[in-house]
């Protein structure tokens, strides 16, 4: 991506813009990470209490049939399942700043399950697929923008959004499965 960008900039004569944006974005990245410190510290601190009290295991036990099907590699009642579920619930309610810490924590646990290797395991990619196609019940930001621009019916996109995310989530999970079995077949050869 970087190299394509540099070559195009050469052809377009936009090297100045590229240089400017290069260093602006490094700064942006650090600001973004530090901005995440606050939510990560807060939510993970809170979730630690829930984890120690056994709340996450209970949550995992409650939804076991569903999650077991999505994440067959994760052992029963493993805390990773609790974090995965919290992540999904937070996404569902559009609580982005709570969903990210829980998703990251789930990733950490999945990495431990995978023997601490630095490659993505099957369950990690499934969790990622769920997050990129995230099902949202109420897209609050969009509704606010629509209200700002004087929409007569700001909420009438809730139905279409729900339909579209449902379709994309189902597809994401199917694609995920497809790629998993394809890579399995390749390994066997």
């Amino acid at each position: 991506m970087l190299v394509i960008g540099f070559i195009t900039a050469m052809l377009n004569g936009r090297m100045d813009e590229v240089n400017a944006s290069l260093f602006k974005s490094t700064q942006e990245a650090v600001t973004l990470s530090l901005g995440l410190v606050s939510v990560l510290v807060f939510w993970l601190g809170l979730m630690k209490i829930a984890e120690k009290g056994g709340l996450l295991e209970k949550l995992a036990a409650l939804f076991r049939p569903l999650v077991k099907r999505l994440f067959p590699d994760v052992p029963n009642n493993h805390p990773a399942l609790g974090y995965i579920l919290s992540n999904m619930v937070a996404n569902l309610f559009g609580l982005g700043n709570a969903a990210t810490p829980m998703g990251i924590k789930a990733m950490e646990q999945l990495k431990q399950l995978n023997g601490g290797k630095n490659e993505a395991s099957r369950s990690m990619i499934t969790l990622l697929a769920i997050n990129t196609s995230s099902i949202t019940l109420i897209p609050t930001t969009i509704i606010a923008i629509r209200m700002n621009y004087g929409s007569a019916t700001p909420t009438d996109i809730v139905g279409t959004t729900l339909l579209a995310t449902a379709i994309s989530t189902v597809f994401a999970l199917s694609i995920d499965r497809y790629f998993y079995y394809r890579s399995k077949r390749r390994e066997r050869r």
Binding site: T8, P101, T132, S151
Partner: protein, 176 residues
């Protein structure tokens, strides 16, 4: 809508209170646990910095050089052939690489076409039903130090494409 608003305002305080009460009932040392978990949060945030710097630099150079505009203009006849409105194609691409950039584009589209127009509704739906794959990938994998992503990027990008097409389908079915 007011019920939904009340609900979302109350949800977080109730959740936090619930967890604290639950921890106290279960005799968990709440404050110590909070600090312990919070420390992990800090180190996770710091460990994702190099990953985010790398990803955001690549994306910003790609955009500033005009490479993204070039892709859009090359692909235009293809989109037209599939009856995809050309106005939302940049938004669909932007959505995968930059959340704030996409939000800006959605606001622009809503402002210039009107929130209740076909394009306005379509932009809203696209914004609401897809996510910033590159960002999610970098943050989630970066925080725990995953370098080999396997087929994760392919899955994420295909899911975005499906979300984009599904948005067009849903808005067409509901509103015309």
């Amino acid at each position: 809508m007011t019920i939904m608003n009340t609900f979302s305002v109350w949800f977080i305080p109730l959740l936090i209170g619930g967890i604290l009460v639950y921890g106290t009932v279960k005799k968990v040392p709440t404050y110590e646990s909070f600090v312990e978990g919070g420390k992990e949060g800090f180190s996770l945030a710091v460990s994702m910095i190099p990953y985010l710097v790398g990803m955001l630099v690549a994306i910003s150079v790609f955009r500033a050089s005009g490479a993204m505009d070039a892709i859009i203009s090359v692909g235009k006849p293809v989109f037209e052939w599939f009856h995809i409105p050309a106005e939302v194609v940049p938004l669909g691409l932007m959505r995968t690489i930059s959340g704030s950039g996409a939000l800006g584009m959605t606001s622009d589209l809503i402002a210039s076409y009107g929130p209740d127009s076909f394009i306005g509704r379509l932009a809203s739906t696209i914004q609401g039903s897809t996510d910033t794959t590159f960002y999610v990938l970098t943050v989630y994998f970066g925080a725990v130090g995953i370098r080999k992503m396997g087929y994760a990027l392919k899955v994420g990008l295909l899911a975005d494409l499906v979300g984009f097409l599904a948005s067009i389908f849903a808005v067409t079915v509901f509103f015309s």
